[in-house]
């Protein structure tokens, strides 16, 4: 059984990889299988972990049912009206709940974590002392200066209501340099990530399937 399972997985893997040569019916079949299985996978997990465990057992079969949960389920059912174009507009109600709640949660969450805390961390004395020895920590001093300049110039670059001229323009230019180094770092890491994914698949093919590794 184990053997057959691995063969199936290997054939599916190769089926997807066949796209690299060119688009072909095997790839399309594998893709269709992927779409079907993953949609059902999600549906099953959401059913058991949420609709069954949270709603059904919480509001229907529980000893002390939480009747509030019914409103959630009704809103959920309203969402399904999208399938019927005529009354599809009521699906805007649950949509409105999600969009509104997300807006409220994010408004504060992003502001606190991604703005306030970051500003707080950028504010520090220019000269950094080593806490253990009390001497100036030159590496960290230079590093935090780099961060200070980078954050300020980057913010200036994203300033849209003032023309980029003179000192302001020069600062914005420095800002773009920082952004480019940042993107370069991201680029390097993205390459690393993509290669890892491939290594994982090749490891499966060579190791689990063909058994020529280890």
């Amino acid at each position: 059984m184990e053997m057959i399972s691995i063969w199936i997985a290997a054939i599916l893997t190769l089926g997807i990889f066949s796209f690299l040569y060119k688009d072909n019916p095997l790839y399309k079949a594998c893709e269709a299988l992927f779409v079907g299985v993953s949609a059902a996978y999600w549906a099953i997990v959401f059913y058991f972990d949420n609709i069954y465990k949270k709603f059904y057992e919480g509001a229907v079969t529980a000893d002390e049912p939480d009747y509030f949960l019914w409103i959630g389920a009704i809103l959920g059912l309203l969402f399904l009206t999208r399938l019927i174009p005529k009354i599809g507009w009521v699906s805007r109600w649950p949509m409105a709940l999600i969009v509104g709640a997300t807006a409220g949660l994010w408004m504060v969450g992003y502001f606190v974590s991604n703005a306030m805390n970051q500003i707080g961390s950028t504010i520090s004395g220019i000269i950094v002392y080593d806490t253990a020895t009390g001497f100036v920590a030159w590496g960290e001093t230079f590093g935090s200066l780099v961060i200070l300049v980078g954050v300020l110039s980057g913010l200036v670059y994203f300033f849209f209501s003032k023309e980029h001229k003179g000192v302001f323009g020069a600062t914005a230019k420095v800002g773009t340099w920082f952004l480019m180094v940042t993107f370069g770092a991201s680029f390097g890491y993205t390459v690393m990530s993509r290669m890892s994914l491939l290594i994982g698949r090749v490891d499966f093919l060579l190791g689990d399937w063909l058994g020529i590794l280890r």
């Binding site: 959401f46 606190v112 974590s113 970051q118 993205t190 290669m195 020529i212």
Partner: protein
Amino acid sequence: MLSTIAMVLSLIVGLSLIYLLIRTIQGHPVERRIVFIYIGLAVVLPLLMNKTLPLPITKDVQKLYDQLEKLQPGSKVLCAFDYDPPSAPELQPMAVAFLKYAFKKDLKIIIMGLWPQGPQQAQQAIEEAMLDPIIAGKNLVQGEDWVNLGFQSGNEFVIQSMGTEFKRMFPKDNRHIAYGEIPLLQDVVNFSNVDFVINFSAGKPGTTEWVQFGVDRFGFEMVAGNTAVQAPMMYPYLRTGQLKGLLGGMSGAAEFEKILDEKGKASTFLLAQTFAHATVIIFIIIGNLAFFSSRKKKMAGTP
């Protein structure tokens, strides 16, 4: 034997890159399928060589390790698995290494997922960790030493709600046992009762959400393992202390395995990773050499 052949082959492949360079400079860039073959070989051949490479431990991984070392036996660690199979090559080795370390150290593990696939990846990681003879000898009991709470939909709203009560989001565990009947969770009401949080994340919802709606609201300490695509965006959080440590991508996983002394997949993948990076770098260089030489020609050609 196999590894020798692989080494010879990779030498030949390396030399053929020179031909590629010449063709490209002459203005005949090769088809993309040829490039695909090179990348395939850059991954296949080193895997056959079966060699591990020395890797220095970066300070972010060291920081993470120091945090883990501070944990006392019996500490409760919430472990959020927020990834799916495509990211498993990067994150699964981290998760396995961490679980092995944690079980050996008698940490109590509470698993959950904001991604539907997360808890299933966790099951696989546990299965692998249990193969370790020391851990197998401990006869760990599900529900007492570790528990898998499963998945809950709602993304960041789950974290927000867990701030008040875990039970509200996870009324029963993975095996359908009521929250209140699980011995490990007797004292655990919300984040204030867990000692530490670790998050393995491949995107949204993930570490960003855990920082924004968990750490910054409920004030627990957290470290994270991230896919490399996402890791650069986490560095600002690392500097503020919103994150106490970070493992980024395959190299982070390999360093983590090294520092925990748990040799795993990531360490064996490192050579292939190195070859793949080298190939991409060489391709960028070849492409740019061709670009500049053609630009020179163009300039020389215009009177």
